[in-house]
C-alpha cells in the first residue's frame, strides 16, 4: 500500500516535459520560428540583390524563377541523376566502412594502432589536394568521384565511431557481463547503442563532407552533374541559374542531415524523443 502512494507522488514530476510545448506564445512554436528565419534570410537576399551588391549577385526572386526554369527544362534532374550516383555510393560505403572500421579499432588494440594514425593524418590534411592525384590514378570516371567523396567522408566517421566505442560507459559493460552477456551481445546491445549519439554526429559530419567531395570532384575532375551545371551557367553569366543550382545542393544536403537526425532519434535513442 505505502509503496503505491509514494510512487504516485513521484509521478507528478513526470508531467514537466509535456507541459512545456503547451505554452501559448507564438515564439515558442519551433516551426513558426524557422519559417520566420527563412523569410528574413530571403528578404535580406532580395534587398542585397536589388542594391545590387554585385552585378553577379541575383535577387532572391530571380533565383527562384531560375530554379523553376531549371526544374521545368529537366536540366536540374539530369544533373542530379549523375551527381547522386557517386555521392550516394560514396556516402553509403563510407558509412558502413567507417562505422565498421571505427568499431573494430575501438574494440581491438592492434587495429587501433594500424588504422587510426592514417585517419588522423587524413583528417588533418587538406584533402582537396588529393583530388588531382585521385584523377591521375583512377581517371575521370565514377571510381574517381566516389573515391573523392569517400576521402572526405570517411576520416570523420571512423574517428568519431572509434572514440565513441572506446569511451563506452564502463558500468554498463560490467552490468552486461554480470548478467552473462556474450561478446557479441555486449557489442550489439550495449556498445553500439551507447555510442550511437557520437557515431551519428560523425555520420552527419561525414555526409556533409561527402557533399563537399562530390562537388569538388565535379568542379575539378570532370564537368558533370551539378558541378557542370554551376560551371556552365557561370561561363554564360546566367548568375540566377548558377545561384539556383548552388542553393539546391545546399538544400539537399541540409535535408539529408535532418533526415539522418530523425532516423537516429527514431531508431537508436527513443528516450531523447520527448526530452
Amino acid at each position: 500500500m505505502a509503496v503505491s502512494i509514494r510512487t504516485d507522488g513521484e509521478a507528478g514530476g513526470l508531467a514537466s516535459p509535456s507541459t512545456r510545448s503547451a505554452t501559448g506564445a507564438p515564439w515558442d512554436q519551433p516551426i513558426l520560428l524557422r519559417l520566420v528565419s527563412i523569410a528574413l534570410f530571403a528578404g535580406i537576399w532580395e534587398v542585397a540583390g536589388r542594391i545590387p551588391v554585385s552585378f553577379a549577385f541575383p535577387t532572391f526572386s530571380d533565383t527562384i524563377v531560375a530554379f523553376v526554369g531549371l526544374l521545368a527544362d529537366g536540366s536540374l534532374a539530369t544533373a542530379y541523376l549523375s551527381t547522386l550516383q557517386p555521392l550516394v555510393l560514396g556516402v553509403v560505403l563510407s558509412a558502413f566502412l567507417g562505422v565498421g572500421l571505427g568499431t573494430i579499432c575501438g574494440l581491438w588494440r592492434t587495429g587501433e594502432w594500424l588504422v587510426i594514425p592514417v585517419f588522423i593524418v587524413l583528417q588533418a590534411a587538406p584533402v582537396a589536394a588529393f583530388i588531382p592525384m585521385v584523377t591521375f590514378v583512377y581517371g575521370i570516371g565514377m571510381t574517381a568521384k566516389t573515391l573523392a567523396v569517400m576521402i572526405l567522408a570517411l576520416p570523420v566517421i571512423v574517428l568519431n565511431t572509434y572514440k565513441a566505442v572506446r569511451n563506452v560507459n564502463e558500468s554498463l559493460l560490467v552490468m552486461c557481463r554480470s548478467f552473462l552477456g556474450t561478446r557479441w551481445q555486449t557489442v550489439a546491445k550495449i556498445i553500439l547503442p551507447d555510442a550511437s549519439p557520437v557515431i551519428f554526429a560523425g555520420l552527419r559530419l561525414g555526409v556533409a563532407a561527402g557533399f563537399v567531395g562530390v562537388v569538388l570532384a565535379e568542379l575539378l575532375i570532370t564537368p558533370t552533374g551539378i558541378g557542370d551545371l554551376i560551371t556552365f551557367h557561370r561561363s554564360r553569366a546566367d548568375y540566377a541559374e548558377m545561384y539556383a543550382t548552388i542553393a539546391s545542393i545546399i538544400a539537399l544536403s541540409t535535408l539529408t542531415l535532418v533526415f539522418l537526425q530523425w532516423v537516429e532519434v527514431r531508431v537508436f535513442r527513443p528516450e531523447s524523443r520527448g526530452a
Binding site: A2, V3, S4, R6, T7, E10, A11, G13, L14, P17, S171, L172, V174, M175, C176, R177, S178, F179, L180, G181, T182, Q185, K189, I190, P193, D194, S196, F268, R269, P270, E271, A275
Partner: protein, 267 residues
C-alpha cells in the same frame, strides 16, 4: 530461525549451517595496496548478510570477487559447493550507480538479464512485469530511466536482479545514491521482499544503522588490509511494523556496539 528449526526437526544430529556461498582464503592486492587478506566467510542460505566497514576495507572488492567481476589473487569462492571465478546464473548483481541503459524502457531494462539468456519476448516481459510490480513500479513499464527519481531507478535495478531468478542477490551499496527518505522506504521494502522471495542477500554498506536494520548477520571488516574483524547476528524481531525497529532497544544497542568497534579505524 524457521529454516534452522526445520532442519533440526527430522535429523537428531544438529545439522551444520547450510551455507550457499563459501569464501576461503581470498586475498587481493592492487599495486602495493593490500585490499583483502585471507578472508574466510560462510554465507547462510536464505539470510541477509551485510558486509560492513569503513571505506578502504575492501567490502565492495569482496562482493565483486563473489560476483565473479573481479579476479582474486588467491583463495576460492564456492556457490552451492561449486567453485566459481566468473559471473553465473545463480548470482545477480545490483549496482551502486544503477547501471541502467538510458535508451531502454523500464520494461526492457528489467527484462535485460532474461533477454541476454535468450528468453522469448512474451515470456520475459511477463516475468519482468511481475517484478516491476513487486518493487512498486507498476505503471512505469514504458518510462525511461531519466524520467525516474534515483530511488525508482534503483528499484529498476533490483527488479532486474530479481527477474533472473538467481539464488544469491549481491547488492553493492544500493542506497548510497538514493536520498534519505527513499532509502528508509526502500529498506522497509527490502525487509518485506526478503520474507517473500526465498533468496540469499549479500549486502555491502557503510551505514551501521542500515546494516543493523536489515541484516540477519553483519560481517565487520577492518581496513588496510581488509580482514574479517567480527561477525554479529543482531536478534531483532522484524515481523511487525518496520518503523518500530528503529526504536527497538536491541537495535540501538547493536548500532552502538558496532560503532564502538569501528571507531578506532576512523581518524
Amino acid at each position: 530461525m524457521g529454516a534452522t528449526a526445520l532442519r533440526n526437526g527430522p535429523s537428531p544430529v544438529p545439522a551444520p549451517i547450510d551455507s550457499i556461498v563459501e569464501v576461503r582464503g581470498i586475498s587481493k592486492t592492487y599495486g602495493n595496496v593490500e585490499a583483502l587478506r585471507g578472508i574466510d566467510l560462510d554465507f547462510p542460505r536464505g539470510k541477509l548478510t551485510s558486509l560492513l566497514g569503513p571505506s578502504g576495507c575492501g567490502k565492495t572488492t569482496l562482493l565483486k570477487i563473489i560476483a565473479g567481476l573481479i579476479r582474486a589473487d588467491g583463495g576460492t569462492v564456492a556457490i552451492n559447493g561449486k567453485h566459481v571465478t566468473a559471473p553465473g546464473p545463480e548470482r545477480a548483481f545490483v549496482f551502486q550507480d544503477f547501471a541502467l541503459m538510458p535508451w531502454a524502457t523500464v520494461m526492457r531494462n528489467v527484462a535485460f538479464g532474461l533477454e541476454l539468456r535468450g528468453t522469448n519476448k512474451a515470456e520475459r516481459e511477463e516475468i519482468a512485469r511481475r517484478y516491476i510490480a513487486e518493487v512498486g513500479l507498476a505503471g512505469f513499464e514504458d518510462k525511461y530511466p531519466h524520467q525516474l527519481s534515483g530511488g525508482m531507478r534503483q528499484r529498476v535495478g533490483l527488479a532486474r536482479a530479481l527477474s533472473v531468478d538467481a539464488d544469491v542477490l549481491l547488492l553493492d551499496e544500493p542506497f548510497s545514491a538514493v536520498d534519505e527518505q527513499n532509502r528508509r522506504k526502500f529498506q522497509e521494502d527490502l525487509i518485506r521482499l526478503r520474507t517473500n522471495q526465498n533468496k540469499t542477500f549479500i549486502f555491502v554498506t557503510h551505514s551501521i544503522e542500515e546494516a543493523v536494520y536489515i541484516s540477519d548477520r553483519i560481517v565487520l571488516l577492518s581496513p588496510r588490509p581488509g580482514r574479517v574483524s567480527q561477525i554479529i547476528e543482531p536478534e531483532i524481531d522484524r515481523s511487525g511494523d518496520p518503523e518500530r525497529i528503529h526504536r527497538d532497544r536491541h537495535y540501538l544497542d547493536t548500532v552502538e556496539e558496532i560503532w564502538q568497534g569501528l571507531k578506532q579505524y576512523v581518524e
